[in-house]
């Protein structure tokens, strides 16, 4: 690591960034948005979240050469990287950011221009498009020293990171999590524990830092606490009316994905939880006249978040749960400081997408009951096959067992070139009628 870069990073972290954000706050005294009768007051925490994430991306510009940098998949056991002080960048989170900023098609097209098929995952195409051109709404992303990938969310990330590793000649570390066709087996756990143990000397070499067990345990503690608090945040939506919508949760999940294991994420969720509890105490709903409660299945459609949030709220329908947001809370109770590696192996390999469809069905049934759900929207994503294959049967089974009305819509999370507004609207209108009936 270079002394100059480290000093520059330290300066920006401690002085530059805070000063810039202070100025930004001063400059941008935005008028509060006009209240919408179908929506409750916006979450006060939203500004703080924006600052945290902006600061994260802003500082990433100075991270290269100052701190070891890793690009990480959203389901990877990041706690082990934190122990070596890696600056972590999440290409999937960056993909969501590009999607929300409607940059998806442009970046995807850059990857397609270099031979990547338009049928491939759009997060991957955005990331490769960014890697080829440097285009990003975040200003600049630091080039990684290592790529850290776990196939617990899909095999796609392995193919994608292999391409990055090849293009940049950067080492790729894989946390290979055997898929749970049935229950997890001891042999799977031992295999994963061994992989985690083997990573330590490798990460020591890449980062130039010695591994500290006590530091690692501390990080595990913070990571577990952040995810548990995130779980509590989501659980507030069990109340009627729910104090936030899943569209809020899609945005507020950014720290648990990208900053997991850091105190800033934990602090943030504690504040958010307090705000939500207060809303529950005061009976403030995100959709004040909430009549129907819905479950969302799959990744968010980032370029439609606000529009769909209003579309449903106008009918007093609220999404109160999502299998997607739940994924960062679902298995965290396995994680503990006493047996960090073994507990990490379980926590990370038992996530929804590394589990069989029967597990997913039971989980969804539980969510329908716990959150008193009336209907469900399933997003069928060409980009995400492990999430999408099986949805037709899940819909049928949930309808048969719980009488849940469900709609499957086709869209992409970021690439709106394949999205048909008219077709989706027609289907949504029919679904609304069915729910009302």
């Amino acid at each position: 690591m270079s002394f100059y870069r480290s000093a520059q990073y330290g300066f920006m972290k401690d002085l530059g960034a805070p000063a810039l954000f202070w100025l930004e706050r001063k400059r941008k005294k935005k008028k509060p948005p006009k209240p919408n009768p179908h929506l409750g007051p916006p979450l006060k925490c939203a500004g703080r979240l924006r600052e945290i994430m902006t600061r994260h991306y802003y500082l990433s510009r100075f991270a290269q050469g100052a701190r070891p940098v890793a690009w990480v998949t959203s389901g990877a056991p990041v706690e082990i990287l934190r122990a070596f002080d890696f600056y972590t960048v999440y290409p999937e989170n960056h993909g969501a950011l590009c999607g929300a900023q409607k940059m998806g098609p442009d970046l995807c097209a850059e990857a397609e221009h270099r031979g990547y098929h338009s049928d491939l995952c759009s997060y991957a195409r955005i990331d490769l498009g960014h890697a080829f051109t440097g285009k990003t709404p975040a200003g600049h992303l630091p080039k990684p020293d290592v790529l850290f990938c776990s196939n617990n969310i899909c095999q796609t990330v392995l193919y994608w990171y292999k391409a990055l590793s090849h293009n940049w000649d950067i080492p790729l570390i894989l946390f290979d999590t055997p898929f749970n066709f049935r229950d997890i087996r001891e042999v799977d756990v031992s295999y994963m524990v061994q992989q985690l143990e083997e990573m330590i000397p490798l990460l020591e070499r890449i980062s130039g830092k010695k591994f500290s067990e006590s530091r690692f345990e501390e990080i595990i503690g913070i990571g577990a606490e952040s995810s548990l608090t995130w779980g509590e945040v989501l659980a507030t939506m069990k109340h009627k009316p729910a104090p936030m919508t899943i569209f809020d949760a899609f945005v507020h999940m950014a720290p648990v994905v990208s900053l997991r294991g850091l105190p800033v994420a934990l602090d943030y969720y504690r504040i958010l939880l307090e705000e939500l509890k207060e809303r529950v105490r005061q009976g403030i709903g995100a959709v004040p006249h909430e009549r129907k409660r819905l479950l969302w299945d799959n990744i968010a459609v980032w370029f439609k978040l606000r529009e769909w949030s209003l579309l449903f709220a106008e009918r007093d329908f609220n999404f109160v749960a999502a299998t997607y947001t739940n994924a960062w809370a679902e298995t965290i109770h396995y994680l503990n400081r006493e047996s960090p590696f073994e507990s990490m192996a379980r926590a990370y390999s038992l996530v929804i997408l590394n589990n069989n469809l029967d597990h997913r069905l039971k989980l969804m049934e539980e969510m329908v009951r716990d959150y008193q759900v009336d209907g469900m929207v399933m997003l069928s994503l060409r980009s995400c096959k492990p999430y999408s294959v099986g949805q037709y049967d899940l819909r049928r089974l949930l309808a048969e067992r719980l009488g849940i009305k469900a709609l499957i819509i086709e869209a992409d999370m970021t690439d709106f070139r394949t999205y048909s507004e008219e077709q989706t609207r027609t289907r949504l209108e029919a679904f609304f009628e069915e729910l009302e009936g």
């Binding site: 270099r114 899909c154 796609t156 392995l158 055997p178 898929f179 083997e198 069905l361 294959v389």
Partner: protein, 358 residues
């Protein structure tokens, strides 16, 4: 004799029949349990019933496999094996086991992905033993001697495949492209006692054959489908001199194992297989493998014949094409469906490519 007739005949002989989905699994374990593993890659069906369970953007290997099950054409099977090949195959396994629930028992097989850790070999061995144990529960005791014997058969078959591929690489095999793949793909259902004489026959004939000539190319992808592509190449006097196909050379050409213990032999074989996208092999390894094939055969170009929606392959193709280009090797990328023939446009592209390299 057709595949179905052969399998029914085997059934009459008292052998059990297992439907095996793609791609990498230890055949010898099945043989040692006197069971015929029949592989389900590209059944000649029209997808209809499977559309009620799978989205249109799922590859035709998965869609056709499910169609076969839903059309009731797997009723005579004793069970299924699902190796962990890709996301779609993984969820198909779960869909059939958890939600469609046919009468057959489902078994699963996870193989470690690259880059391998030090524990990958031990884990793979556990997987092999676990599979054997799970099959024993249904098919009876797996005797070590039987497995040893089938390992020897497996080694012999690998050797014969190597001979056949070498003969073809040297243009000493008088077989059209289509005939070659029809012959070698019989390994997907023949029991070793029947497969070995067939392969020996081809090798013997090859030794006596004259050169066919034609412009040599390498075929890369999952399968040599649609068959119309092979016919077109035959008509254009293009000789597939070697391949990098998942269903073919990537798993059939395995170096001879040196270990004594049969499970260790299986471990050795898995880890010495040719690089493959479904194992997570690095692009550099794949590129080096292709360049090696080009050097060995004198092939003039590479045809990437990729099944539509096949993520493991499609992610590697751009870098492989680029790597070959740097070495001055032309390539052609085709986006094909398994059983839907060759469109006029695609045929024109193939023709243009062959003119360029011819």
């Amino acid at each position: 004799m057709s595949r179905k007739e052969y399998l029914l005949q085997q059934k009459e002989k008292g052998r059990r029949i297992f439907g095996v989905f793609p791609a990498l699994y230890p055949k010898e374990v099945f043989w040692a349990l006197d069971t015929v593993p029949v592989e389900i890659w590209d059944p000649p069906l029209q997808v209809a019933a499977a559309s009620a369970h799978l989205q249109p953007y799922i590859c035709s290997v998965v869609r056709l496999g499910l169609e076969l099950v839903l059309q009731g054409k797997t009723g005579f099977l004793d069970g299924f094996l699902f190796p962990h090949t890709c996301d779609s195959m993984q969820n198909l396994a779960s869909l059939i086991n958890d939600h469609i629930k046919g009468p057959q028992a489902c078994h699963f097989f996870y193989h470690p992905k690259e880059p391998y850790g030090k524990g990958a070999r031990a884990f793979y061995r556990h997987e092999l033993e676990g599979l054997a144990q799970s099959l024993e529960g249904q098919l009876g005791v797996l005797k070590n001697e039987a497995l040893q014997e089938q390992m020897a058969q497996g080694q012999k078959i690998s050797g014969l495949f190597q001979n056949l591929y070498d003969l073809r690489a040297q243009d000493k095999l008088d077989m059209s492209n289509r005939a070659f793949y029809e012959a070698i793909r019989r390994n997907e259902f023949l029991f070793p006692d029947d497969l070995i004489p067939e392969l020996e026959g081809h090798v013997k004939k090859g030794g006596e054959a004259k050169a066919r000539g034609g412009v040599p190319v390498i075929l890369s992808g999952v399968l040599p489908n649609p068959p119309e592509l092979l016919t077109l190449l035959d008509e254009l006097e293009i000789r597939v001199a070697h391949d990098d196909l998942l269903a073919c050379s990537r798993r059939l050409l395995v170096p001879q194992a040196t270990r004594v213990d049969p499970y260790e032999q299986l471990v050795e074989r898995y880890f010495s297989m040719n690089p493959c996208s479904t194992k997570g092999s690095s692009i550099s390894r794949r590129e080096a493998y292709l360049l090696g094939l080009l050097q060995k055969t004198g092939a003039k170009g590479v045809i990437f014949n990729v099944v539509k929606f096949c993520e493991p392959e499609w992610f590697d193709v751009p870098n492989l094409v680029e790597g070959l280009k740097r070495q001055g090797v032309p390539s052609l990328v085709l986006d094909t469906e398994l059983n839907q023939g060759l469109s006029g446009q695609m045929a024109t592209r193939v023709e243009a490519f062959t003119e360029m390299i011819g």
